[in-house]
Structure formats: structure tokens, C-alpha cells
Amino acid sequence: MIRRLAVIVCLLCSAAAVVVAADGDVTFTRDGGGTDPAPAVFPHWSHRIRFRCYACHDQVFPMARNATRVTMDDIAAGKACGTCHNGRRAWAVTFETCNRCHPAR
């Protein structure tokens, strides 16, 4: 319910990313408000058990809320999530792994 509410709140925002959950999940919104596939959810906790904040901030992602814009092209080019999600440092972003970020509904 909270997640659904958060998604609705996100859809109303024009910003690229909004922090929604207490555990630090970030649900992205898509330019134009599309929801298919579902906008990506970044699980902060999963990264926090493996990395210190300064591993990614501010070199890979700025700290400021709503300041992060990510495209699949960025990821393929080794930027943003693609810095690690490249099949070497962490699992690769492929058509086999879509729903790890874009949750299936």
C-alpha cells in the first residue's frame, strides 16, 4: 500500500528520482510518466551492506535528491549503474535481468 502510494506520489512529481521508503529505496520516475515497464527501484540497503556511501557518492551519483537522471544508454556506456553493473563488478544489465530493477507487476 505504502509502495503504491509512493509510486503515485512519484508520478505526480516531475523530478527524476524521489526517495520514498524508510529503508532508503529510491523509486525513479520516467520522463513523460510512462509505467511500462515499471519505473526502476533502487534498493539502497542492498548496496549499503556492500559499499560505504563514499564508494558511489558523489563520484558516480550526486547526493542531492532529484539530481540523478539515468538512462539505459548511460548504463550501457558504463555510466551510473553501469559503472558496476557490467557483468564484471556486478551482474550485467541484460534482457535477463530487467525485473531486478523494474519490478514485475
Binding site: 529503508d23 534498493p43 551492506i49 556492500r50 560505504r52 563514499y54 564508494a55 558511489c56 563520484q59 563488478r89
Partner: protein
Amino acid sequence: MLRPIATPGVIVMRWAACTALAAALAGCSAPSRKKLVNALFDGAGAPPPTRRLRRDLLQEIDGLKRQVAEQEAVTAAASSAQAPASEETAPARPIEAAKTWDEAAGALPKSADDGSVDWDAALEQGVIAPQPGVAPSAAVQATFPLDIEMVPESDPTYRVVFQHAPHTAWLSCANCHPAVFEPKRGANAVSMESIGQGRHCGTCHGPVAFSQDSCVRCHRALSEGGP
């Protein structure tokens, strides 16, 4: 005669003394040799290094450089061994096998104050071993021990001691300074209002670090029964 003629015995004694001194100088490390030479020559400033001293010092520097290089190689090997190259490699900590937040949260230590996840304790107890950088060779930064006490004029019971040490285990200086906090005493008007607006401490506390409802985790005096 102004100078007595040296007898063979005296000559032998002098040679023995010189040899013993030379052996002592050659046998000890460069710093103590320097001290010894200074003591013998009445400490009148360090004598200019002899060719031999210079050679020994250079050798010592080379040795230290080699040690540093070896240590760096060991550290780099250790961090690349920890790096999760793929899902096939075993996780560095059991918690890294968690698939959901509930699963992970179950394995993380909790604060005695409010039962929420205590990330600092998780780090201290080694439940998690978060890496310091994207590059496997990245180094953990040193923590910064400065405490800053903030006492509100209205009621000192609500004083807060901000500890840099646990924060710098996670964050670099540039993560907070100067965008979130001016690095200057008295330059930041921190209030519960500003925190509630997502500024100052509220930049992280609430969205990603422990909640703003965990009063006593900052306002320690509230749980200790007075200032």
C-alpha cells in the same frame, strides 16, 4: 719532546679502539649510528653523511619502498579477492546473500534505543564489510575523531554531541561539506525544523539513515536522565 713516542702496545690499543668503534658504527641502524656519531663529536650538528652512511641510508629507503610496495600489493590482492566479480563467487559476508530487505534487516544489529537497524554496530561487529570504492583497489579512509557539541539556548536537555567518527566511517568530507554543512563552527543553524525539511541532518536521517523519530539516538540526555 712535546709528544711521547707511541709504544707498540699503545698503537695496538689505538687500533683495537678504532676497530671496535668502526664495528659498532657498522653494526647499528642508521638513526642510532647518527646519534652515536653526534655523541662522539660532541653533538656539534649532524656531521655531513659519509659515503658509507649515504649508501646505507639509500639502502634503507629502498628497503622501505619495497615494504610499502609489498603491503600495497597485499592490500590490492585482498580487496580484489573480496570483490563480488559475479554471482558465482561466494559472498564476502553471509548477509550479502539476502534477497529482500526484511531478510537483511533480520541479520542486522538493532539499536537498543528504538529497535531500528544500527548500521554503525553492523560495521563495528563485522556483520557487513562495505567496500570503500567501486575500484577493488580503493582504500578505506581514516575516520575523523572530532565531536561537535550543540546546545540549544532554549533547553540544554536537548543538547546533541555530533560525532564525526561514525559518520566518516561511511561518508567522505566532501559528501557533507560544504553543501550540507558549512565547515565552520556556529555557521549552521541546525534545528528540528531544518532537519524536518530535509536539510542539515535531515539530508540523510529519515531518507536513508535512522529516522528523525529516534529522538534519543541524538539527544542522549533524554535517555540518560538529564544533561
